[in-house]
Symmetry: C2
Subunit: 659 residues, 2 copies
């Protein structure tokens, strides 16, 4: 059962697609306090809180404050409150109750989940205008109420985005592939090493002066031919698109946008001038239907050159500076110059410059034309990246009505899950971010972001070979499986390391798992179900509720990745008997039935543990170097008290749109 | 056996006190390459590398690069290479070999421990001038060679600093106790809550305009009387001393320093003008014997007012800016102003301002008079904090010949361990920093820094109540046991939280453990032994070598702290049968003998697990609200296949200097 309550006059987000009548009266379970613009609910000691999508900390969100305020912050440390996403759905669950809550409002919302007070969850609003959906069971046919709550929620927000099947291959990326030859070299080296590969991502370097929908034709001459050459090798090039449009005379996207008045403007009607990678840019008003349709159509430029996948970046939007603010900064610097700075003035000066990028005030400098209203950006901030990706997604339905196009985004809001996946932003080569990746996946499933994953190996900072081995060993299970790193950091293409053979076997295992991964993904998408889940979504025992480093993937398996340096094994908790498979390669593994209990299990570098659930089946294909060669015929089945008929394999042509 | 080899002409550090003849010839085990200024040694797969004192990452240092280059960096994330200390001693140990290595040189040294290549350890030098000590067994009477190596190393660097016994009490600190009344309130609230307390720390706020050896007599009127009032309550006030001396006419320390020419100077002979908390400062030349003696004598100002403990801060030295560099920055900003900044210029501008503090070039702007030579600072950088603390320690021997004075420092180098302890710098309220605290303790023991600990609860960022509970539950075992937090963060005095009763019981347990903690500390100090040790320093089995979140404390116990949010238990590995004590309070606990095996054990918030080793004894006193009331008479003994006679209790008056 879903009930929708409305407080104030919320701005429509288009995140819920089902028409649900507003229930009048008090919001149940919560104490609402308009004066503090907050909702309160008491937590029992046993309550776990799951959800909120892409956030920091553990699966159980208790003990911290999370703020929905999409932020381009590359330091995902434990003390941060905002990452790139606002996914305001969570469940409170214990043996005695399960409650789903979705807060629908595009502005800033803060969730204090037992931080200020152990046993209180407080939701505070910048603007006290929102819809709240309360979702409760019982649900017919669901033994676990929490799964019913999620399914019910997912059913009201619409079906999750489905990418082409090849997007389940392995992809290599790096910010700083400067030329077509560098890209060719990556492909060659992968092929030489025999490591499967389906995608090479193009970061901003492929563009002409970072202009969207252009290609640097010196570095990437005859791009269409190059795309075709790579596609003939079975490799898809996946370029990045940024939110900002470079201000440059003669650049058609800029000139058209100006002419048609599609860029966001300041209060005085002047177009906002911000700066991002291209230097000075305007931002398209993705919230304006016409502008969105116009920007979406621009992807055709690349589709026409054979491109069939994209990633949308910088769409919180990230702002390095606005022209207006930079001028203010330089003016203020004059005040500091030639003065004997006292220490407070010095810090003020440092902070002045340090806070130029993603400056809070800048997000109040510009306006959108949204659903017939002029609305200041900060009021709808969390919808920006969503609507950029929606621009693409809606356009692809027109431009590529028959075939799926790969699309994922950095910034997001619930609703965007219908148009693309996400990657978990600019993480770092930290062991703690491997764990974070593990912990984020179930929450993303809850919010409908099924085609997701983190930058394997870590984007910022220098990776280590063992971290990369462990991260790849987990990444082979995430739908988006991309190795990506930042310019200036240690290069982390797999063929560069001593353990190239281990890497090969790991990625091959991914390709062997493809029939399972694709089946489970498609079933989750088509049935509004979880792809990754915390143990307690399936098991009722108390211990399962506390497990933060194991997770269920689809119907058949549980994962327990090793995520600590210099450890060659780990503890695992089995809520029921399971068959443990220790893979060294897709065709080289031990299997052992382990009893419902705690176990310490070995898993050396290059080894992968998979736990097959009782009565379940894990199909394995023969891996190939490209997904399109991997056949779902003549599969091998690893069964635990089940036979192969017990597994419902999903197959399709992998490319046709699913109506 | 210790052998000393010399390469080039190293600058003397005074870290080794034993006279050891230089062995001529090749350095054994290592390949030395003068052209790359590096030493190489191959690592076996089974080799663990322990040591390096205060660094990031795990107990086993394999898989990262560590650079000895003392740094004031408050973001102790996994990718950092330098923290506040340079403690260049490590052991390589496996079943087949154990080798101790100490690199003695005051400049920058980089340890690549299996980062670039899995099985190679590379030591690289900025200047190829160093002493290297190679330490090997066999050692008579030591069953574990690694313990022998450490003991041998410790015997050549001199006895570890011994604080007064009251310094083993609990201390409360916060950057922002602005007045005597605020300090009184802290004491009152602790007493009202019945939580034991021995120390309140005074951060920079107690000083008059941040001038060393002054007291703000408006905020802290009649300081001597206040110190006495607090001491009568059994509470020691422990003020901070910073490295920089404020430039201010009429300020005696400044004027004397100028007159006697004790401040560091630039190449042109002008005194360096840097800025730290007081604004513009000069740095005393702590490396100059006379200046060091002079600065040390200044502590008398506070000793005379009844102060008997200090902490030395900002002594890397931290530099917010130098006057010269700030001028350069403002000049360069002129170039950026009014120009249409392209994006690279914008980043250059941001970086220009962002890198003002602790700027690399600034450390090459000034010189020391050291052992009769004029030496540029960067060549002896890592000795600066060491010699500031040595200034204090040497002075205390003169000024307080009979009684011990509490002293610990932020920056350090081996050798400084004779004059004071360290705290682990400006950590954060992160769960990962609780684990880091656990992992750092054994490495600090190895390097002789016995009186050490981290800021419990975390210095920067907002703590959570559960993090503070878990951190206190570990902090009760560290010699330095201080709750410290930064201005602007959530206040974390224990009486502010819902769980005040749990906090009380935890701190009481500390006081009950005092006879054990003090005995073990003193034995470790007097016998050059480990206080905290990794499991593999005692146990030979393979698993023990990988345990990164348990540690031995003294002869009797093993600790296994819970360090993860929302978990009410943890796994523990027992290399032998042990008696597990689950304390809820010093006088309320379960005990259970657990077999040598893996176990999952419950430990709810407020509970503490202690594992008593077979044949060993844990004495417990009746706790009191001050250490001086805790008696070592009529102890209670928790024994596991031992009786109380098996425990060697160390007692003394807790204050007299030990010759």
């Amino acid at each position: 059962m879903v009930r929708k309550f409305r407080v104030g006059n919320p701005i429509e987000t288009d995140s819920v697609v089902k028409d649900i009548e507003i229930t009048n009266g008090e919001i149940p379970y919560f104490k609402a306090d308009a004066s503090s613009k907050s909702l309160f609910i008491e937590l029992d000691q046993e309550d776990k809180v799951f959800g909120l999508g892409e956030t920091i900390r553990g699966m159980n969100k208790r003990g911290w404050i999370y703020t929905s305020n999409n932020a381009d912050d590359p330091n995902h440390t434990e003390d941060k409150r905002s990452l790139y996403a606002s996914q305001n759905f969570f469940v409170i669950t214990s043996k005695s109750r399960t409650l789903g809550v979705y807060i629908d409002t595009p502005g800033t919302v803060t969730f204090d989940i037992g931080y200020s007070k152990f046993n209180e969850l407080t939701i505070s609003f910048e603007d006290y205008d929102f819809d709240i959906y309360i979702i409760e069971g019982p649900f017919e046919g669901e033994e676990k109420e929490v799964k019913g709550v999620v399914k019910e929620f997912r059913s009201i927000i619409g079906r999750s985005y489905i990418p082409p099947r090849w997007a389940f291959g392995y992809g290599q990326s790096r910010w700083s592939y400067f030329t077509a030859d560098e890209v060719r070299e990556v492909a060659d080296k992968y092929d030489e090493a025999g490591i499967p590969l389906d995608m090479i991502y193009l970061d901003i370097d492929y563009m002409e002066r970072y202009k969207d929908f252009t290609v640097d034709d010196k570095a990437f001459p005859d791009f269409k031919e190059f795309v075709s050459e790579m596609k003939n090798r079975g490799i898809h090039l996946v370029p990045i698109i940024d939110a900002g449009v470079k201000i440059e005379d003669g650049y058609d996207v800029y000139e058209e946008g100006v002419e048609k008045d599609y860029f966001v403007k300041k209060e005085d009607g002047e177009r906002l001038v911000a700066a991002v990678w291209p230097g000075r840019v305007h931002f398209p008003d993705f919230l304006n239907d016409e502008a969105r349709a116009w920007f979406g159509n621009k992807y055709k430029v690349l589709l026409d050159q054979g491109i069939d996948g994209f990633w949308n970046d910088m769409n919180e939007p990230a702002i390095f500076y606005t022209e207006d603010h930079l001028k203010e900064v330089f003016d203020k610097i004059e005040d500091y110059k030639d003065k004997n700075l006292d220490i407070n003035s010095f810090f003020a000066f440092k902070d002045l410059v340090g806070s130029i990028d993603n400056n809070e005030a800048d997000y109040k400098r510009f306006y959108h034309e949204y659903k017939g209203q002029k609305i200041r950006h900060d009021k709808v901030h969390n919808l920006f990246g969503y609507n950029m990706t929606r621009a693409a997604g809606e356009a692809f339905e027109r431009l590529s009505p028959d075939e799926r196009i790969l699309m994922f985004s950095r910034s997001s809001y619930i609703g965007m899950h219908r148009y693309g996946g996400i990657w978990c932003g600019d993480n770092k080569s930290w062991w703690s971010h491997l764990l974070l990746n593990i912990q984020q996946m179930p929450a993303l499933s809850m919010c409908g972001f099924l085609y997701s994953g983190a930058d394997v190996g870590g984007f910022g900072a220098d990776t280590t070979e063992d971290l990369l081995l462990r991260w790849i060993a987990f990444g082979i299970f995430t739908p988006l499986f991309r190795n990506h790193s930042a310019m200036g950091t240690r290069k982390q293409e797999l063929y560069r390391f001593e353990s190239v053979d281990k890497f090969k076997k790991l990625v091959e295992l991914r390709y062997a798992l493809l029939p399972y991964l694709y089946s489970e993904f498609m079933k989750a998408a088509l049935r509004d179900e979880m792809l990754f889940a915390p143990l307690s979504f399936e098991y009722d025992d108390e211990r399962s509720g506390e497990v933060e480093d194991q997770l269920l993937l689809g119907e058949s398996i549980m994962l327990a990745p090793v995520y600590k340096q210099n450890e060659t094994g780990r503890y695992v908790y089995l809520p029921e008997d399971m068959k443990m498979i220790r893979f060294r390669a897709y065709d080289d593994y031990d299997e052992e039935v382990l009893s419902a209990d705690d176990h310490y299990v070995k898993a050396d570098l290059g080894e992968v543990l998979v736990f097959v659930r009782k009565g379940h089946v894990l199909p394995l294909a023969k891996p190939e170097n490209r997904t399109d060669k991997v056949s779902a015929d003549s599969l091998k089945y690893i069964c635990y008290e089940a036979d192969s008929d017990n597994y419902e394999l999903y197959t399709d042509d992998g490319i046709s749109r699913i109506k």
